[in-house]
Structure formats: structure tokens, C-alpha cells
């Protein structure tokens, strides 16, 4: 993904303030609430019957943290997202059978979470930079699909 120097600075600057566990849990939770069909991948997670149940579910929080941790790895390797996510791409295709559209949905939910936490600091320019990142990550995760 190609970010200008300014965009890279915006992304790394804001990412430094991200609470990975908290934001990850919130992002995954919101994905499952806003787009309930995504719950299809999480039958083993227990109670997802209401927004409160989802947002408070410890498995959702734990898995969300893992997912955002991974996103953080991507942010440290913006010049080589395909390499960074190669193994995860294979996993999501061959074992998890996840439609890549879900990566795009999660990316946009994450942008909303960042906006909620950073408020005015999440300027249009910052959003533009992050949208490039989440699109790049989604594409990288889809790259090994066959």
C-alpha cells in the first residue's frame, strides 16, 4: 500500500495511542453487532444474543485483541503487507473459509472505533490514511485465496 510520508506519520502517530486489547475487542464486537451475519464464524463463542452480550463476551474481546495485534504487525510493515499476511491469508482461505468481504467490513468498523476514541484528532486526512491501511490489509489477507 502506498502512503505518503505524511500519511505514514499520521498512522503511526495515532497507532501509538491505540489500546490494542480494548479497541480490538470493541471492533470485533461491533462487527458482530452491526453485521450479525458475521457471527457465522463464531458459533463456539457462547452468548452473542444481544449487543450487550456481544460487547461483554470475553471470547470476543480476546479474539478481537488478537486480530488488532495482527493489524499492528501490518502497520509496522506497510511496505510488505502481502508478505506479512501471507500465512494468515492461507489460513483464512483454507481453514477458516472466511469471505474476504468480511475483512473490508471489519476495516470500516475499525475506522469507526478509531474515530470514536480519537474524536477531532481523527481528521479527514487521518481517516484517509487509515482507510488506505485497512484496504491494504484486507487485500493482503485475500491475496492467497484460491
Amino acid at each position: 500500500v502506498h502512503l505518503t510520508a505524511e500519511e505514514k506519520a499520521l498512522v503511526t502517530g495515532l497507532w501509538g495511542k491505540v489500546k490494542v486489547e480494548e479497541f480490538g475487542g470493541e471492533a470485533l464486537g461491533r462487527l458482530l453487532v452491526v453485521y450479525p451475519w458475521t457471527q457465522r464464524f463464531f458459533d463456539s463463542f457462547g452468548d452473542l444474543s444481544s449487543a450487550d452480550a456481544v460487547m461483554g463476551n470475553p471470547k470476543v474481546k480476546a479474539h478481537g485483541a488478537k486480530v488488532l495485534q495482527s493489524m499492528g504487525d501490518g502497520i509496522k510493515n506497510l511496505d510488505n503487507l502481502k508478505g506479512t499476511f501471507s500465512k494468515l491469508s492461507e489460513l483464512h482461505c483454507d481453514k477458516l473459509h472466511v469471505d474476504p468481504e468480511n475483512f473490508r467490513l471489519l476495516g470500516n468498523v475499525l475506522v469507526c472505533v478509531l474515530a470514536r476514541h480519537f474524536g477531532k484528532d481523527f481528521t479527514p486526512a487521518a481517516q484517509a490514511a487509515f482507510q488506505k491501511v485497512v484496504a491494504g490489509v484486507a487485500n493482503a489477507l485475500a491475496a492467497k485465496y484460491h
Binding site: E26, G29, R30, V33, V34, A51, V54, M55, N108, V109, V111, C112, V113, A115, R116, H117, F118, G119, K120, F122, P124, A125, Q127, A128, Q131
Partner: protein, 142 residues
């Protein structure tokens, strides 16, 4: 697609907050749209970069006013937006993909302005509501 009672309650409660600064919310939503998705600028060739802010504010106010009409007539969004639906089908002809982009930018704007109110439930309700508005605005396209 129809909104549940709970979703309608949430949408109206949020609308009350939006209404107090709807011009600014509209301006910021459009600013985000044109900044984050520059291809959307193709629909605004008449916008002049120097007076961009004033133009965004004026157009943003129009957009928010329509969204407000839809919210206040939530049982009949089709009726409330009938004229706009025709305008988009026959005159504006904005490609349908852009409605998702604008909706997303509105949600981001709501998240920045109303962090406490923009709960997961509110996020779901507004995403669904904007999806409904978008489908009404494109329902006469062909």
C-alpha cells in the same frame, strides 16, 4: 428491510443531538467523503477549492436536512424521499456505490462527535437506517 422499534428509538434520539449541529455534521461528512474517497469529487466539478468549506457547509446542510426528513418519517422513508429518489435516478445519477461511502463517512462523523452515544447498538441502527435511505434513493435507477 424495516427498522425495529428499538432501532427507531435510537435513531430519533441520535437525531435530536445531530439537529443541534446538523450543518457542521453535514459539512464534515462531505469533507470526509471527498478527502477519503477522492473519486466522489467527480460529482462536484462545480465546487471551487477556495470556497470549498462554504460549499461543503451549504451542501452538507441539504444532505442532513433530507436525512432528518427520513428520520422524522421513519415509517415511510420512501414517501418522504420520493422527490429526491427521482432526482437521483434521472438527474444526478450518482453511482450506487457512493451511497455506501457517504453513509460510512456519516457514521465516522457521528463517532467523532458523539462518542458516548455512538454505542454498538446505535452504530447498527444508523448503518441500517442509512442502508434504507440509500436503497430508497436508488430504487428508481432502473
Amino acid at each position: 428491510m424495516s427498522l425495529t422499534t428499538n432501532e427507531r428509538t435510537i435513531i430519533l434520539a441520535m437525531w435530536d443531538k445531530i439537529a443541534t449541529e446538523s450543518e457542521e455534521i453535514g459539512r464534515e461528512t462531505l469533507d470526509r467523503l471527498l478527502t477519503v474517497f477522492p473519486q466522489a469529487k467527480t460529482y462536484f466539478p462545480h465546487f471551487d477549492m477556495n470556497s470549498r468549506s462554504a460549499q461543503l457547509r451549504a451542501h452538507g446542510a441539504k444532505v442532513m436536512s433530507a436525512i432528518g426528513d427520513a428520520a422524522k418519517n421513519i415509517d415511510n422513508v420512501s414517501g418522504a424521499l420520493a422527490r429526491l429518489s427521482e432526482m437521483h435516478a434521472y438527474i444526478l445519477r450518482v453511482d450506487p456505490v457512493n451511497f455506501k461511502l457517504l453513509s460510512h463517512c456519516l457514521l465516522v462523523t457521528l463517532a467523532t462527535h458523539f462518542p458516548a452515544d455512538f454505542t454498538a447498538e446505535a452504530h447498527e441502527a444508523w448503518d441500517k437506517f442509512m442502508s434504507l435511505v440509500s436503497s430508497v434513493l436508488t430504487e428508481k435507477y432502473r
